[in-house]
Amino acid sequence: MFIRKAFLLLSTFFFVIGLLSFPALSRAQENPYFVAYDHYLEEPGNLEVEYFSTFGTQRGGNDFHSYWMEFEYGVKAWWTTEFYLDGQTTFGDSTIFTGVRWENRFRPLKREHFVNPILYVEYEHKSDADKILKEGEGHDVEADFLVPNALARQQINNEIELKLILSSTVKGWNFTENTLAAKNLSNSPWEFGYALGASRPLALKASAKRCTFCRQNFVGGVEMYGGLGDRYHFGLHDTAHYAAPVLGWNLPSGWTLRISPGFGLNDTSHQFLLRWGVSREISGFGSMVARMFRGRP
């Protein structure tokens, strides 16, 4: 318990210190999605620190606020690795740490094509109390969230998640389709899910002046995601689905802000999810760490 709290505290501390002390901030051109992924990886050597929140309504129980932090690092131009810390507050219940995730994305093709595949592999170590809804999978439905935190946190799951990301950019529009297969390592069947996204900057040409509110800094779009059942009961029966407009604002100062109101599309979905997030990219983080340990100035 103490270790978990210290862990959260330390990560928050490093997040704040990191953001305040890194001078080499790069201007990100981030997509606005919360769930869907496109085919663009982190630039090599850059670290992106991100914080995301989700407020969700809960029928028959208490609403919740879940949150996660991402540390996204570009190891190579074809490989991005991410580390997540998840937590949640269920109103009228408690605030708890719910797990960690380690995600890797690989770009198998050297060049840009009409459809660009990305391979995604993630390991999750999380409790049943996890409510970040970072993906729709299997038969996960709103009723699963009714279990009190004290009970739900006792069930720990180790899960492997695979995704095939197919993404295309045409005339400024990005279209992406993610197919998901997840396996709980404790003898559960494979579960499936999907995410779809489309987005476009509000202006395609850049302004010749530095500006904060120029249309090119805003990226708008929509995403849709949900579960597709499991190996034995594949399909839409007893699954949850969401549609959400998304808006991202890439500030010239290096920050990116995102917001997305999401709506449940069937009776087994949460009726409303409000997501928001803030991120900042730190250029040359890898070189800086390497220099630090090699004793170079």
Partner: protein, 166 residues
């Protein structure tokens, strides 16, 4: 406790990745031109642009603001690797070399779109086409500059000489 172990393993992996990958990259991708010329492979990729891509004309070549907008984009996305004045650095080659400045705008646009993923340059197709052409306008406006001498006196003094070797 198990969480702790997982976290420690992941931390070790991430730290190892961040320490060794850049180190390896800086050795293999030393883009700073050598005194007797430029490493052949650095600019070789631009020669691979297909004929159709080379033949593309810059639709913004008559736009008086294209280079100015391209400069801002360059500072935000490219200067980190290619240097503030596009003169090159250890992470990326000079864009003021004859190989780039004499290349067709379409070939530069092709490189921006496709990246040189295996050698560390990301795909920049996430920038809309007009912005990539604005970048091309800026890069072409720079003109050829003499190869930068990569080894400053301080660098030279830090470099181990043959007689320092055992």
């Amino acid at each position: 406790m198990r969480l702790c172990l997982v976290f420690l393993s992941l931390s070790a992996l991430l730290l190892g990745g961040s320490l060794f990958c850049p180190a390896k990259e800086s050795q293999s991708n030393n883009f700073a031109p050598e005194q007797d010329g430029k490493p052949e492979s650095v600019y070789g990729e631009i020669g691979k642009a297909p004929e159709k891509a080379r033949a593309k004309r810059n639709p913004l070549q008559n736009d008086p603001e294209a280079a100015a907008a391209g400069r801002i984009l360059f500072e935000q996305r490219c200067a980190e690797c290619h240097g503030d004045a596009a003169e090159g650095s250890k992470k990326g080659p000079s864009l003021r070399a004859a190989e780039i400045q004499n290349a067709e705008p379409g070939a530069i646009f092709w490189i921006l779109t496709n990246g040189v993923v295996r050698k560390g340059m990301p795909v920049w197709s996430k920038l809309p086409e007009p912005q990539r052409w604005q970048l091309v306008s800026y890069i072409k406006s720079l003109g050829i500059a003499p190869a930068r001498t990569p080894k400053s006196a301080s660098d030279e003094s830090r470099r181990p000489s043959a007689k320092d070797s055992p």
